[in-house]
Symmetry: C2
């Protein structure tokens, strides 16, 4: 009997825990799930005989170490900044570790120690990062195997609302951390390369310099640039690629309206607003509009957005011109007030389904010819618990857990899923679970 | 014989040192000037028998303490962050101190210790801060004395190029630290109140939401908001004022073109550009424009600025479309590259004169009537050494030094020049030196 310790039973752990429990009898696993909130852990285990709900403070080394010691594998679903401390305990106690998060420099530095301890620390094995790496590397390795050379790689991913639940003018609801959505793109400019030219998009232009694309059967999408595209060159072995771009997908006309938030200053998290507890959505937005006697807030706002009726409608639907409800949030930033307004309108209903969309576009040279290959995946969630976000984050991690415990994956050190021995079995099993990539190939004459 | 220690002999110390030396014989002063660069100190003293040039590291307490100990007064012209350490030595050694910089919280905390030591630490006694405080408080105290109540206070200041030296399409040259000009307004939004409504202008809107004004004899100016207007309420005793606004002055159409820098992302100092040492002004600006095959950089730029010919001309004049000169700056930010381009074009010629402009607009109620009072000062520099910037920063500090040494000003503690006993004699002597405020009064029917 092998023991798996899952740390964190939040939204993105649902599908992970379900998979582990469903496979626990065949493989003789015990699944111990710890959360500060034991009710949450119990709900995720749902009475399964191989599951044990625990409650302790997993951020405290002394509390988690006895649990790590008796486990064969730890899956940390904690916020990313806590993984390194867990990893150090895992190295100490020679227990394998999986996290869905980006490898931090501190995590990277543990590579040698992990190898010495004979354990694997598998990171970036959710959806983005995770499925993006695996699906891209499969194609990159294939192009390389047939003697081709990748000239351009553009890749987009978005967590969206499924068409059947898409009933608001933004065509968007929150399927992950709202705060991260509000702050997305802030900090230094988005950087990528196009035909060997380094290109930078500052935050103030991020949501107006967008790409449009269509996905067969799912209609149109728009994509804005992620901050970091360049680091993928090294990760994917594409050091000298002339064009590489990573972006985030939204439905058409979302970015234009989000840009209105940015331009007004509503996404700013760098300062607290005076007397913020007294603000209604209406006085909040008016704080960012010029003072004009005898001109209504609606009129000032319309002028600010260049009289775009679609944007106006989207703001109106969010209740921005409503003065009746004071938000009551003391000493908060514009971004926190915006989040409060958005959460009240963009939260999934219990019957809502979400949708995860991934889209890769490769241009490569083969035998002197240019070819284009699109690869895309659209996955619809089951409901508001077993969301597509939860499935696409949790299943790769869960399948990888199985491979480690069954010893069909025998690597050590700080890893990410970019080698065939990792991605092939995982992508195959994801397909069996309905997470499927489709491909379209184009000859060079169709390349714009 | 009394000794004055001036720390720092840079650009803004020229007029200060000259005033002290000119008055040194009458008042029996020795003026000791320290700078890392002894040549600079010697040049400022220019052979005057009462001046002594010194060179040591004034940032080291052990090096400066013997000099502070033998002085009656220290004037610190160091960068603002170093003043507090100097102040602690001055308290220890019971030596008075003058700085032209804003009072930091750490400086504020020394108030009691300074009082106990029986010394004054006079801060914010340059031009902005400095002359702004004095000229505003004189009017505020006057309005209060005649029974009026200030309803609105808007105040602008700008360091500009004198009309006779104004020979570039930006109508601007650097008269103080170029880096500060490039980074101006970054960080949290500009905040002010208008008719009791808190208003915020984010950086991305700062240079497009401008005020226009005319100054008799000097033509038109435009003003953009400073980040902090609110703290002046407490300083000036205007806690419940409905409208308060502080701004920075430029010549018309400057802000619109500066906004193009902001919108492109050229003022960003938060990251380093890849291979920055290879960039020319042309490839630098192209890094922020979309990749378009067969469309020139000029054409892409024109589109980005909405085909504004005036902005295009200003950029062209700065050499932005020049590919011939690689800047050669390794591992630098966009802001550093922009500064490099601007310094090469906006530096004062030896024969150039600068211009300091200050403009206050008061609306106040008196006997049930609304009245408006404008007060403004325009000062032209002597040359590129005794600039208006140097005169307006240095003379208030120098006059205050005289008052402290002659014991006509007898206050202690951490101070700024907002009381009549400080501002009256200083404003009077500034007038004798050609730094003069003119006033225009308007009846209520002319108040827009």
């Amino acid at each position: 009997m092998k023991t798996i310790l899952v740390i964190g039973a939040g939204m993105s752990s649902s599908s992970l825990i379900r998979y582990l429990l469903e496979n626990s009898t065949i493989y003789n696993w015990k699944v111990r799930v710890v959360d500060q909130d034991i009710k949450l852990a119990e709900r995720k285990i749902n009475g399964h005989p191989n599951g044990i709900a625990l409650s302790f403070n997993a951020l405290e080394s002394v509390e988690r170490r006895p649990e790590i010691e008796q486990a064969s594998l730890v899956i940390s679903m904690l916020p990313a900044r806590f993984h390194v401390d867990v990893a150090k305990d895992c190295i100490d106690l020679k227990t394998n570790l999986i996290t869905p998060s980006y490898i931090s420099p501190e995590m990277r530095a543990l590579d040698e120690a992990a190898k010495k301890a004979g354990i694997v620390i598998m990171n970036e094995i959710g959806v983005d990062p995770g499925i993006d790496h695996m699906s891209a590397m499969k194609i990159i390795d294939h192009i390389s195997a047939i003697g081709g050379k990748v000239h351009s790689f553009k890749s987009f991913c978005g967590g969206l609302i499924a068409p059947e639940s898409d009933n608001n003018p933004w065509n968007y609801k929150f399927t992950w951390n709202p705060r991260n959505v509000v702050l997305a793109g802030q900090g230094s400019a988005a950087c990528f390369i196009e035909e060997n030219q380094y290109k930078y998009i500052p935050y103030s232009k991020l949501f107006s310099r967008i790409d449009l694309m269509a996905i067969p059967g799912y209609g149109e999408f728009e994509g804005y640039a992620n901050r970091d595209s360049l680091s993928y060159r090294g990760i994917y072995g594409l050091e000298n690629i002339p064009t590489i771009f990573r972006g985030t997908l939204r439905r058409p006309n979302y970015c234009k309206a989000w840009d209105a938030f940015v331009q007004l200053g509503l996404t700013d998290d760098s300062y607290k607003m005076a007397h913020s507890e007294e603000l209604s959505p209406r006085t909040f937005i008016n704080s960012f509009l010029p003072f004009k006697e005898n001109i209504s807030i609606e009129e000032k706002f319309k002028k600010a957005i260049g009289y775009d009726e679609d944007i106006y409608h989207k703001f109106e639907w969010l209740g921005f011109f409503d003065a009746s409800k004071v938000m009551g949030l003391k000493n908060v930033s514009p971004a926190q007030l915006l989040e409060n307004i958005l959460v009240s309108k963009w939260t999934l209903d219990p019957s809502d389904k979400d949708m995860l969309v991934m889209f890769h576009e490769f241009v490569y040279e083969l035998n002197g010819e240019k070819k284009k290959l699109n690869s895309y995946m659209v996955n619809i969630g089951e409901d508001s618990v077993y969301t597509s976000m939860s499935n696409t984050v949790g299943l790769p991690a869960a399948i990888c857990a199985k491979m480690i415990l069954n010893e069909t994956l025998e690597i050590t050190g700080v890893q990410m899923p970019i080698s065939a021995e990792v991605y092939n079995p995982i992508l195959k099993e994801l397909e069996e679970n309905g997470i499927t990539f489709l491909e379209e190939e184009f000859d060079h004459q169709f390349i714009g």
